[in-house]
Symmetry: C2
Subunit: 322 residues, 2 copies
């Protein structure tokens, strides 16, 4: 079982603690994979479409027998990895009736609130994110993007192969930059129309081909706020399986303050006082609120609230003179 050092800020984000050994170097070994499937200690995380199967006490890890019992195919279950208990797989099953001792839940509220007042343990959420990411990818990639033919699962579910043109397809992960632009004791937040009233969060956007993390951070802040930034420093990253993003969390030094958005992506974008951030994070602010700890935005804001403007100097000790 993997462990996480205290200075791994990424492990503090939602879905950031995944204790499985993925055994990625053994996925080609069919006999080994078969032995894991045959293991009586094998378990599975189950989805019906995008909804996760949750049992009593917020249980999301089920005995392997439940896969076939709920109309799934154990032979097609995706290997997530192994921990101290045994192998863990992910599988899609059929919808079930209301009398079943399970419910179907959306993963996002489940991660924030748990089920029936019981939270899902942090390290289990890491494996759940992996399961949702790879199962969602299989759902959306039944056909070969290169030739249009149906594809088949390979490598214990971590690849899809095209029998027609021979292409190999791997799970897709989309890098997204999410960042807090800082100007002394002010930081830049925006709100999307779909946010709950009063909630503001960090700006964010998908990276594009031929772009560095730093360039993407500056571009997105420019597009969404019209604010210019210079120094960018990385803080932490987070898998975000809605459907398949890697959130790359950064701070950016603002060099202008006028707000004049280039696009219409945000309903509002504005500067907040650093002193407002802690109550926004703790949901005690009279007007505004910030995202919960499941979101990497919470952790960027918490670091800024505690340390202030020096957060953007994180990489200062290692200038390259070459």
């Amino acid at each position: 079982m993997l462990t996480f050092p205290a200075h791994d800020y990424s492990a503090a984000t939602g879905f950031g603690t995944n204790t499985l050994d993925r055994l990625s170097e053994r996925r080609e070994d069919a006999a080994f994979i078969a032995s894991l499937r045959a293991d009586t200690a094998a378990r599975a995380i189950l989805f019906v479409g995008e909804l996760i199967v949750v049992g009593e006490g917020a249980q999301v890890i089920h005995p392997k027998g439940l896969v076939d019992a709920l109309g799934g195919q154990w032979d097609e279950a995706v290997l997530l990895g192994v921990d101290g208990t045994g192998p863990l797989f992910a599988a899609t099953v059929e919808p079930f009736g209301e009398d079943a001792p399970f419910t179907l839940e959306n993963l996002r509220p489940l991660a924030v609130e748990g089920a029936g007042g019981v939270p899902v343990p942090r390290d289990v959420l890491g494996a759940v994110a992996q399961a949702r990411g790879v199962l969602g990818w299989h759902m959306r990639h039944q056909f070969c993007s290169n030739c249009g033919a149906p594809t088949v699962m390979a490598q214990a579910g971590m690849r899809r192969d095209c029998p027609s043109c021979g292409a190999h397809h791997f799970p897709r992960t989309d890098p997204v930059v999410i960042m807090l632009a800082v100007n002394g004791d002010k930081c830049l937040l925006g709100r999307q129309t779909r946010f709950v009233n009063g909630v503001y969060s960090c700006l964010a956007g998908f990276m594009e081909p031929g772009e560095t993390v730093e360039a993407a951070v500056r571009r997105e802040i420019w597009e969404e706020a019209g604010v210019q930034t210079s120094r960018v420093s990385y803080h932490a990253s987070q898998p975000w399986p809605f459907p398949s993003s890697l959130m790359i969390g950064c701070f950016a030094q603002a060099t202008s303050t006028d707000i004049d958005p280039r696009d219409a992506e945000l309903e509002d974008v504005r500067w907040f006082d650093r002193a407002d951030i802690a109550p926004m994070l703790d949901q005690t602010h009279p007007i505004y609120a910030a995202p919960p700890p499941v979101a990497i935005a919470h952790h960027l804001l918490r670091a800024y609230s505690v340390h202030g403007a020096p957060v953007v100097l994180a990489d200062a000790p290692t200038p390259v003179s070459a």
Copy 2:
């Protein structure tokens, strides 16, 4: 035209300096895109399959008229962005005869050595990487992965739409971790069979669903070398368009020294003395060599050569107390 602050280490990597304004917020505006296509100052970067069209003096940016002249379709050219000269597009053209005043070049050696002794300017290489990345994506994504139907270009070439099931597909960028594990005055390098004799480089590997950058770094070092690591710190990133990677460059603190690879990906992996790194980078070492400055591995190694073990402490000033 975009500029890059001196402390942007990513801008120092090959393909890391892209001065185009991508105008991504205006891609939906068909009339605006048409006006850019009609602009007499519009230019294009051209490819035949994976090979780039290079003119006299290592010229890779051509007048827009050359697209149709070489059998391409100007109406289907992909908008890369604009700079002080005008709009810049990317297009695929037909193979041409030996009497044409152009050659077809592989991008990797072109980036390292230039053409006919003439280097391609650094900021032009950024746009070239963007062009190769997005054109390659179009080549491999003519069909809908969701339903198998043929797709069509949208948003000036930055999206493909499926007329059959309605899916929108965006260019794919695969995050890859590349890292230098450090143990005081020793660092861990490996060589692939395809490397030139004596060349060693940083370990690297594709990130997986449900994984943080830090977890991926530790996993890849464990798989390829059997070495355990704790603290991971981000250094820089690089677009690597072979075919569509984002290289995320990190340092990692090694906590074990025995080498015992889990997989067979590397021909050899070993510890190098810090004192050997500078001559390896400068190609003056009697036995070994390291990658050229086009590669982010070069920059990780240069930073370690100059600063030593403190490179892994880059993020130390911003612990999160929350």
